[in-house]
């Protein structure tokens, strides 16, 4: 096609005034020239749009990278609020769960404390060399391993009260099964002396079963305490535990 260079020059903005006149004339008279020009003008427009679209998605990419990098540190306010509500609910649930539905472990921990020494009051300065005295001294000092050894060495090692305090040592050391074995005979003993440990043994036996997750046995122990006509030792606590595990 003749004069096609004029179209290039039009896009380059390099048409001389004379060429511009010729260009205008050709647009009116030469159909092919006109359609070639229209095509290239469309081409310019379409390339421009395509480029803008490409650049736009590039800029959107910058934005996306930005928000990806910073979203950990700049959470939207409503997310933070939502997160704190969830935390509050979670904490509340945990609190309620612990207060109203405590685990056996929790119930045990809340109720267990080694029975106080009512046999050999340890008096400072009083130097009694008997093994029994030393055993109770170790017991009061929470030196349970030593206490067990000493209880094993006393003359009346089968006495209910010795067995009972030994069981206290095992419970304190989390040796529940040993404690249960010691407590069972004490709980059913017919000993009528002032050293009768029946009711205490029943209570600690209940706690030991509780810790061992033997709820049926524990329940029967606590019921025994709660419904006892004369003994009042730990009756209130037993009733409370029954409410949780029955």
């Amino acid at each position: 096609m003749k004069n096609i260079e004029l179209i290039d020059k039009y896009f380059e903005n390099t048409l001389t005034p004379k060429e511009q006149l010729l260009f205008n004339d050709l647009l009116h008279t030469d159909k092919d020239f006109k359609s070639e020009f229209v095509f290239q003008k469309d081409l310019k427009k379409v390339i421009s749009i395509t480029q803008t679209e490409n650049l736009k998605s590039m800029l959107q990419g910058f934005e996306k990278n930005l928000s990806n990098n910073s979203k950990v540190f700049f959470l939207p306010k409503k997310w933070l609020i939502a997160a704190s509500i969830i935390l509050l609910i979670g904490f509340g649930f945990w609190f309620i769960n612990n207060s109203y539905f405590p685990s056996n472990e929790k119930l045990y921990a809340r109720n267990f404390e080694p029975y106080r020494n009512i046999i050999q009051p340890v008096v400072r300065g009083k130097n009694i060399n008997s093994i029994e005295y030393k055993a109770f001294a170790a017991y009061e000092n929470k030196n349970y391993h030593k206490a067990i050894n000493l209880y094993n060495s006393v003359d009346n090692t089968d006495a209910d009260y010795i067995q009972f305090y030994k069981a206290m040592c095992y419970l304190s050391l989390d040796k529940t099964n040993e404690a249960i074995n010691l407590l069972l005979p004490v709980a059913t003993s017919n000993n009528q002396s002032d050293k009768n440990f029946n009711e205490m043994a029943n209570w600690y036996l209940g706690l030991a079963y509780l810790k061992n997750e033997e709820n049926k046995k524990a329940l029967s122990q606590f019921c025994l305490i709660a419904n006892h006509p004369t003994n009042t030792f730990k009756q209130k606590e037993a009733k409370e535990i029954i409410e949780f595990i029955k």
């Binding site: 896009f11 380059e12 095509f39 290239q40 081409l43 310019k44 390339i47 421009s48 480029q51 910058f62």
Partner: protein
Amino acid sequence: MKNENTKNILELIRKGDKATLHKIYIDNRDIFINFSKKYGVNSYDAEDIYQDAILVLQKNVVMGKVTNLNSSISTYLFAIGKYKIFQSFRENSKIEYSDDIEISEKSFDYDVNLYPDNLTKQQRLLKISINKLGERCKEILTLFYYQGYTLDEITEILNYSDKKVLKSQKSRCVKQLKEITVS
């Protein structure tokens, strides 16, 4: 020195240089988003308007309507951005715009419309066809029709031995494009 610097930046913008645009984008983004908030524009719209403001800047640099800047690029971006915010208000007719805005619109002597009116069927077909061209053809056509380089300049940029070689290459590209579009 400062002018030289701005000219270099404008040249990089004209080429659509990714690193340059990224730097401009990051440098001005937060100030612009906060500025938009004062006009009650949500951050999603503000990002969109901000991106368009950069595109308008780029387009005007490419079209040769901006060859040098008296003010900084930031000031320029804000001027476009502010105009774009008011334009979006007008389109959504959410608020009555004041005379103040009329003035700011008149002060623009360059093109702020990124997306031209609907394309004809022929133009839509053409848009699809361009993607089917080889990379070399796309490059030549973009340099010539979009970035506005002359054939002499492109000969140099693309290392052609002779302007005639480039010219015939460009003709072949256009011809090929026509064939793809028709078929």
